[in-house]
Symmetry: C2
Subunit: 618 residues, 2 copies
């Protein structure tokens, strides 16, 4: 398939990605690891996704309107306006990058938080040494320069010597009114915070500068709790075994602590230069991370231990950062709707517009939020890990070798593989793509049944027809033949995989339906639909609508991908006290809807398992 | 000497004390362990020191005025109005007792704090268990009943199970907005606080009820740091040795922890039922207790690590109380003027009257406070441990066997011994008494020289003359002959002992003089002189004035003994948040005067070493 693809060289990374012709440059940039600022959702109206293209194509009308003649002459174009056709060099200026600071997640709202109120701040002081006419206590001397301060006893024990060692010239590290440390000399430029997204399946951690909010490094890994169960309910059950809670806590905390080591090394800092950690996850993940038994979350009426933010010394959860550094775990809304959802509402500024909006965070637990313009409603739905590649026969996470895109063109399926490697499996976006294309081709019925050769529509093209197998009498579709794969076996999509997709997609679709009903809205009322989740950026909106994951009634340009909003919200709260305050308010303000107690839930869920009729697709 | 004494039986204790004829009943009651309420200072004007005397003497005019005919008929009399003459039964009603609550220290101000705002409060709740229509988080459920709460992670981990074990019916233990514990059932009646006075020489601890402020038990012991040096400067030096600070911290903390065990056993409670500890001491003692190196206190300009109150988990200083219980160490004023002085200002309500007042706390470190009606000034002076019996050849603490009073009558010295035991030494009050009586008899010169036989005034009575010895050529006075003593040796007072007294008394007298000068006051301006210190109640005012320890210009009725105000202030802050707030304000409001930097200090100190001329004595 490689010969079909178009190579694009992205700068400044110097990375070449191979994409199918017709792929938008903005999407290709994201695949290259350079997600672009695109608050208008790629409509060519905001002019923010500027790149320099060589060779530069003819400007589109939108570009002629938004770019200056000088820019046009230099080859500046908007990445949302062009698709890959031929080999190309693309230079991405820093100002167009989402990802730096919190902009990737700003949605339609361009205002972004500045780290003017970090939870841990540094104040450089040069204090007059004590003398007979000025004999105030050491801490009081520091308070005169810094403001009200309390010091933990262990630090107070060191303070007199510390002050004198550096001749009263040093940097106070302050968390709220708590003195965290006193460092010799001016260390204001140094100091980091950590943001952690505790996914049921995937852990992501980002190291950011406290002073600027800039991201220094990011890493992710599989949640090592997955061997104890692949969804939250199985983890809750595991926690009830003798030693189970302890094991789950240890596993997740050790993994985060290892990521801290890795991030610190990559950024060239000491662990002790990390002063605060903000943690976001669903309620179960947050409780397990804190070592709080989630037993009561596993039974009606699904009660968390607390809905407030948890703050605790990092050491008490097993993280090694600054010795007096603390973790902040986001507040939860209720039931399974946890800090990750609060983080999503926060970082997308969902409530900033008075118009109705929907936020869908697709993960092993799907979270759905409806903003009516006045009320916030949120629910959690057990989508299962299908979108993260689990429970799919050849599913995998969105990493090198994963088929991430499937396109039906010229009668056959064409693939894009992450890292341009030979495919070894498929990730969630390819699952959606494949199902959508098979529905369009009439090879998959709305009820989710994969047709056999004798049942296929007569116009089914031959290449596609060849891909349909009956594996032990069970129908399957070959995505990659064994000769093209990275492991010598064909990569197939089975009937059972499609059933898993129906369950996962149906759970979310039913959740959306019930939440909209409770909010008194119909899908057409929605001004914006935000799709969050680590793999969101890879999903094609039309396909998500085709399989019914997102409401078909919503015009496509209103759907936007906002990436990993759980991590984004953790980043906000890692560097801003105002964000923590806002998280608290949002968590309290949001009405928790327990879907399973809705009288219509079962009927709605059953209906939602059926893929929409073709008329509603594009 | 026993035959001279009069036995008084005190009820309800049933304790008999033997006192010299002429001893006031109020003083005898204090010796019996029943200190009386006496806000008027024993002037017969307040009518608070009611006791029942059998046989009852004729009522005095004051009693006729203050007591009802019925009371008089029942034998009710005022203890301040009568002296011991014959054998007597004295019943002390509870309402006359100082010591219960904080009244012992209320001075002239009758308003006393009620524990309406204890730092740790208990709230009994019966919560509706969660159900589908009410699925708020566990902590939020508790918050609905109790108000804003935070929970330490270790408690949060236990909370869900705790709540369900007692069917959501239990008692929240709350410190400020921090949930300290959740106990099954209604435990409001149970719960204690501890108040600790960290004296340089003596440690005292009192266990009080959180709910009522009532004292449950009290104990004291020698500060085990004394083997590392008997004053604060030697302790500071000791702390500079390798391991010295650690040893000093361990010694004092272990002693306090042992006292906790003893008090808990005496009161029949578990250590874990103590939720908070308030600690008062001079700056050095407080820092050593907290494990903070006092090195900077040992050199000009004598800088404490902090002047704020220190709050820390009890376990971090080595105390074993409730696992989440904290210690509160009082704020300090500056230099050596520590929390004990703040406690004194607080518990005597020194600033409640607009008229000038002096507070003198006599201990190994003497603390002096002047209230001008608008300004508070405080200083510390190194009196040394003479008043606590140290550095005196046969000195001892005010415990059984200590001569506590010396009276010159009928030409000879008469003694009172604590516990009516044969004497084995003398305590501070006897030292003052003896010096005053010897000065009056002309046997001791104002310069502090004990005359030899050939130098004695001609009228010196023979019995007194016989008591004067030249021990190895050094003059000494026999207080108790070897035949009367408890250890078969004579109890003597040496020339060297009197020099120690001169130093101790002179240091305090000089401090008072300089502080009054700074305040723009003369001794005659003082409306009240409060004498604090554990042994204060045993001192005779006339003798304290005779030796110059207290200014002779102050009319005697203005001098009042207020007992251990350091412990009293610790008790206030152990049971009242308002008291903690007030302590903070008083500490900040008080001007710290460094005596040694006063240009007049050396001259004043030298002058103060001279005992006043007889004219000023009574």
């Amino acid at each position: 398939m490689r010969d079909l693809e178009v190579p694009l060289r992205f700068h400044p990374l110097g990375r070449t990605v191979h994409v199918l012709p017709g792929t938008r440059l903005s999407e290709a940039a994201a695949i290259a690891g350079l997600p672009l600022e695109m608050p208008c959702g790629g409509e060519g109206t905001c002019g923010k996704c500027r790149v320099v293209m060589r060779p530069a194509p003819e400007p589109t009308p939108a570009e002629a309107r938004l770019l200056s003649p000088d820019e046009l002459a230099r080859g500046v174009r908007l990445a949302c306006q062009h698709v890959a056709e031929n080999e190309l060099d693309v230079e991405v200026p820093r100002s167009s990058l989402a990802g730096h600071e919190c902009r990737i997640l700003a949605g339609s709202h361009t205002e972004v938080p500045e780290p003017t109120d970090p939870p841990v701040r540094k104040v450089f002081v040069q204090l007059p040494p004590p003398h007979r006419g000025d004999d105030v206590a050491d801490l009081a001397r520091l308070q005169r320069a810094v403001g009200p301060l309390e010091a933990d006893l262990d630090l107070l024990r060191q303070l007199p010597a510390r002050l004198r060692q550096c001749q009263f010239r040093g940097t106070a590290v302050v968390e709220a009114s708590r003195l965290l440390d006193f460092e010799p000399g001016d260390t204001r430029a140094h100091g980091c915070a950590l943001a952690v997204d505790l996914g049921t399946t995937t852990l992501v951690a980002a190291l950011v500068e406290l002073a600027t909010g800039d991201q220094r490094a990011v890493t992710s890994r599989l949640n090592p709790q997955t061997t104890c169960g692949d969804d939250v309910l199985s983890r809750i059950l595991y926690a009830q075994r003798p030693g189970g809670l302890h094991e789950l806590q240890q596993r997740i905390a050790s993994a985060v602590d290892e990521m801290i080591g890795e991030l610190a090394e990559n950024a060239g800092i000491r662990r002790e230069a990390i002063y605060t950690v903000a943690v976001s996850g669903n309620t179960t993940m947050q409780q397990l991370f804190c070592g709080v038994d989630p037993q009561c979350l596993g039974q009606v009426p699904f009660v968390p231990a607390t809905s407030d933010a948890i703050q605790a010394p990092a050491a008490t959860v097993g993280l090694h950062i600054h010795p007096r550094g603390r973790v902040y775990v986001l507040p939860v809304i209720g039931g399974f709707v946890g800090g990750d959802t609060v983080a999503g509402i926060l970082s997308t500024r969902l409530t900033a517009s008075p118009r109705p909006a929907l936020l869908v965070d697709i993960g092993t637990n799907g979270e759905i939020v409806v903003w009516t313009g006045q009320r916030l409603l949120a629910a959690s739905t057990a989508a299962g890990p299908a979108f993260e590649g689990a429970r799919i026969s050849q599913g995998m996470r969105a990493s090198v070798g994963a088929i991430e895109k499937v396109v039906l063109r010229d009668g056959d399926l064409h693939l894009n593989v992450i890292g341009n490697a030979p495919p070894v499996g498929l990730c969630g976006s390819a699952l959606i793509d494949a199902a959508a294309e098979l529905l369009r081709a009439g090879v998959l019925t709305p009820e989710g049944r994969l047709l056999t050769h004798d049942q296929l529509p007569v116009h089914t093209p031959e290449p596609l027809r060849r891909r349909l197998l009956a594996d032990n009498g069970k129908p399957a579709v070959v995505l990659a033949w064994e000769s093209d794969s990275g492991h010598g076996r064909a990569v197939t999509l089975t009937q059972r995989d499609l059933r898993e997709l129906q369950l996962a997609s149906g759970a979310i679709r039913a959740g959306i339906a019930i939440l909209l009903k409770r909010a008194g809205l119909s899908p057409a009322d929605l001004d914006t639909v935000l799709l969050a989740g680590a793999f969101g950026n890879f999903i094609r909106r039309s396909n998500a609508q085709r399989i019914g994951l997102l409401p078909g009634e919503v015009p496509r340009q209103r759907i936007r991908f906002v990436g990993n909003t759980s991590l984004a919200g953790a980043r906000w709260t890692a560097i801003s006290l105002a964000a923590r305050q806002q998280a608290h308010c949002l968590a309290r303000q949001t009405e928790h809807v327990d879907l399973s107690s809705d009288p219509d839930f079962h009927a709605t869920f059953a209906r939602s398992m059926i893929f929409p009729q073709g008329a509603s697709s594009s």
